[in-house]
Amino acid sequence: MKAIEVEHLSKIFKVQKSRGGLKGALQDLFSRQYNEVAAVNDISFSIPAGEICGYIGENGAGKSTTIKMLTGILVPTAGKLNVGGYVPHEEREKFVKNIGVVFGQRSQLWWDIGVIESFGLLRKVYGVSEQDYKKRLDELVQRLDLGDLLSRPVRKLSLGQRMRCELVAALLHNPSIVFLDEPTIGLDIIVKTEIREFLKDMNRQHGTTILLTTHDLQDIEALCSRVIMLDEGRIIYDGGLDTLKTRWGQGTRVTLQFGTACPLGRLQSLTSDLHVSWTADNDLHAEVLVPAELNVSDVLAKIVGQPDIAITDIKITETTTDEIVRQIYQTGSATKETQGGTVSHA
């Protein structure tokens, strides 16, 4: 069963062009010029129930706009949309009983009253029965360790405490689909880990479908089996995180430090039967890039133990997801010359 289905979805904003200077401002007063900006441009994807999907992209790539259309806040300019069996913006009030939404940058809770009062009010708004509410609240409070925070007013909570409360507020009605817009923004590493663990558990226990946007790729690595990457309103990658890594990872980089001078030519001739590329700043330092299909040990075996080469230090570094993603953002495309496959291009 599909939890979220999106077909050719677009959202175009009209943005007023401002002309410069006083004269321009006066002109703007009488005749306005608009630019059409496609925040989301013809995207399609579907997410099966029970999946955790990461939604990433640079600032302004259209992540939040997509989430806002999926949650029924914005009305799409074009395209079809089905979330949990509803068209979000058309049957908004019925639809939202089924979903939970957390905006990392904005609060769901009432600022002045105790956390527990906020929860009680949300219970009424969502029409959750007293019994279900008690059960669910106990479960969540225990799991997120909120016990002594409940009576405090929200304005006196730290960001980490508040975010945990926000999660509870969004999940009290036990939604089957949860949208998280930058849920870990500004949090310390301990709270981040806690929230990741919690989301993973929830997904396992209740089969909750989760779509989250984030700039912290560790969120994605810890949680998501799948990632959708967005650039300028278009999907540039949709698939597994592993595939992204193997396809765009540049392999492994091995840095060698020598005790005595070792010319680059010598190293190249030793590994001439392998497709590796060497670089060196000076004779005491060399770097080799080992492609993913080769073993690092094979390369090292050729060099280590040669009587004329005295290695003092070896450092092996894998390309991190951060680097891969940074590269894709910079080129604005996830297509790599030689490989095609499931990838669409920008």
Partner: protein, 261 residues
């Protein structure tokens, strides 16, 4: 039922917050009352110089003012759209409202509920009783239900006009200065419309029907025959203007663009 339940829940929460800021509560009550008192004093000053205003006596105008205070109190308690553009559009709080399973406008009303406004309604009733007594008005059995109907209708006319005007914030990027202007125009509806020129009469009757919040419905109880037919139009105008308001609101929500990220 669900919505009535919500009203009580939000009122409960209002009380809880307000009890932590008690001074604030009383300051608001007192400033509300002072504003009403100054309006009333204005009437007394005017009648210090003349005995009748377009054929209406002082007690009659005060009675109209008393009637006006009832729907105005209800309106300021339940329909508080003053800071809508700032809070919900510019700061993007509308996002939160739209992800909750209750009608969005209703949620906004509830979040801004302001019970001190009701004190004005109470005082309005007292003013009507006193000036009605001075005029020797007779209370007929049907006066009470009709007065309730008219007061509610007048509140809805207000609500409709303000919803329609507030929904403009969905289209415009910046807050508009139109609401303070309205607050000035609405005051004209408390005086006998016959004292104004034709254009203003037309404006107050059909375009921004503030006359239906004060003078027209109140005239029925004063036995002012020349306006009786207008008085009975109050519920009709309420239906029309509420529909206009809600329609433009619902269209506006579709245009909502969100704020920031």
């Amino acid at each position: 039922m669900y919505y009535i339940g919500l009203v009580f829940e939000y009122l409960k929460n209002y009380m809880k917050t307000r009890l932590t800021y008690r001074a604030d509560f009383w300051v608001e009550v007192v400033s509300d009352l002072l504003m009403q008192a100054s309006n009333l004093i204005f009437i007394f000053v005017v009648f210090g110089h003349t005995n009748s205003l377009g054929g209406w006596s002082e007690a009659e105008v005060v009675f109209v003012y008393g009637f006006f205070m009832v729907p105005f109190g209800l309106f300021s308690c339940f329909v508080n759209l003053w800071n809508f553009s700032d809070r919900y559009i510019v700061k993007g709080e509308m996002d939160r409202i739209l992800t909750r399973p209750a009608y969005n406008l209703f949620q906004i009303f509830l979040e801004n509920i302001d019970p001190p406004g009701l004190i004005g309604s109470l005082i309005g009733i007292i003013i009507m009783i006193i000036s009605g007594g001075q005029l020797g008005l007779e209370l007929v059995w049907w006066h009470l239900p009709v007065m309730i109907l008219f007061a509610i209708s007048a509140t809805l006319i207000y609500t409709g006009i303000y919803i329609a005007l507030t929904s403009l914030s969905f289209y415009s990027d910046s807050p508009t200065g139109i609401i303070p202007l309205m607050y000035n125009i609405q005051n004209y509806g408390r005086y006998p419309v016959t004292i104004y020129n034709r254009a203003i009469q037309f404006l107050l009757t059909w375009i921004l029907p503030f006359a239906f919040v004060g003078i027209y419905p109140a005239s029925l109880f004063l036995g002012r025959e020349e306006m009786t037919h207008m008085a009975w139009l109050t519920p009709v105008m309420a239906a029309i203007f509420l529909t206009i308001g809600l329609t433009s609101w619902n269209v506006g929500v579709k245009k909502y663009r969100g704020a920031g990220s």
